[in-house]
Symmetry: C2
Subunit: 250 residues, 2 copies
């Protein structure tokens, strides 16, 4: 059992809270076997970034949000870890954007899909979010991918023009980009294939990003897509931050 | 389920094999809730080191082995991840060194202790290792630690002069150092408290280190403790390697 500090100002509070949420999700059968290992990798990169949203990440978040606001058919794609770590916050975001969410998991089993849909539906009812939850009945396939991981919903991910895919794997990010979509990813490893390929990469921790997006929308701020935004520069800035961290703590 | 590549020359073979071993250990109840997350953090640092034993890590491994060979009462301390990732190899090392192993876990429950002792005993019998497995009946406490995590065996960890503790947590590393022991740790994060405090830190992946130690001993090489060895320099070299990796892949 992860011990959660009672005090939210405790320096490890957020990190322990995320672990606790993953443990709860694990018990509900929402996660794949590799989910906790993937989270651990994220923890290491977040540590190297100083467990903070660095300015370039905040700029990427605004750019991503601008793309979502300007989209014809935005969709938020959710996997097990995303639902576990920030399910409520992601539904709140979808509610504010007026877009559907679609559960799209790499290791697809009926049991996991049921657990994830059940959990999201419960959150939706509890908080009166007006959000369509897609994914239970896939009727299309992402071209270029094999097996169940290609499954998606025609009027969801398949027809979307702008897609927020937190914690995506490299192959699928590549396939979605090849479909011509604007793909917005949240990935703490600036060197990952996903981070390198996406339209906009937020090198930041999922719950912080979604929290920021929700706060921006609640404040009625409506960011515009910046033509100057360069994803490469954003990734380079994250790498520089990590190098500075390694130098300062020498 | 983790898919293991059938071909050991596959670039991801070692990494997938380690994940597979953790999954098997998880099924047997050998791991704490935080074990997979901790492994994921290690994966991230190993990735940043290029998934290789860098020269300074190899030098640290020789230095650690020299300390074990020169000890009056060496002990290998084992936790859940160590047993899962390299249980057989660690018993082989203890057999070659003629020293006991002691199971010493942070989240101690009777069920986990039983699962770990059962697994190690099975490996010992299968491979005819002549190794005493301690830990089932702790009769001493590590001073300065609270709760069950302080429990240890008098004629094991408590009385040891040189202790190999792969994957140790910071508090316990500090408490063991305060007992005046030579503490040899394997930790992929060169910035961790454990890495910073230990007598010798191998910034390397556990199964690679133990494999190297076994090969050195089988080759009849007997490294001597070097008076010039500086743990700080070894840690600095690992940090420099990571910084170079981040620069080269820019």
């Amino acid at each position: 059992m992860v011990e959660i500090a009672a005090d939210p100002t405790h320096p490890r509070y957020q990190s322990l809270l995320m672990r606790h949420r993953l443990e709860e999700a694990e018990k509900k059968g929402m996660l794949a076997g590799s989910a906790l290992i993937a989270h651990g990798r994220g923890e290491a990169y977040d540590y190297l970034l100083g467990e903070q949203s660095i300015p370039s990440a905040k700029a990427a978040t605004k750019q991503a949000l601008a793309h979502l606001l300007g989209a014809h058919h935005p969709v938020i794609s959710l996997n097990g870890n995303a639902v576990a770590l920030a399910g409520k916050e992601l539904l709140h975001l979808a509610d504010q954007l007026g877009c559907p969410v679609e559960i799209n998991i790499f290791y697809r089993t009926p049991e996991r899909m049921e657990a994830l849909i059940g959990h999201l539906t419960q959150l939706k009812v509890e908080h009166s979010f007006d959000v369509e939850i897609l994914g239970a009945e896939p009727d299309a396939r992402i071209p270029g991918l094999e097996g169940p991981r290609a499954n998606c919903v025609k009027r969801g991910i398949f027809d979307s023009d702008v897609l927020l895919v937190p914690l995506e794997d490299g192959d699928r990010c590549e396939a979605l980009m090849a479909m011509g979509k604007t793909v917005l990813v949240i990935d703490l490893n600036p060197l990952s294939r996903t981070a390198q390929m996406a339209s906009v990469t937020m090198v930041d921790e999922l719950s912080r990003v979604v929290g920021d997006m929700n706060r921006i929308l609640l404040s009625k701020e409506r960011p515009k897509v910046s033509e100057e935004y360069l994803n490469e520069s954003s990734l380079q800035d994250a790498l520089n931050h990590i190098k500075d961290f390694l130098t300062k703590t020498d």
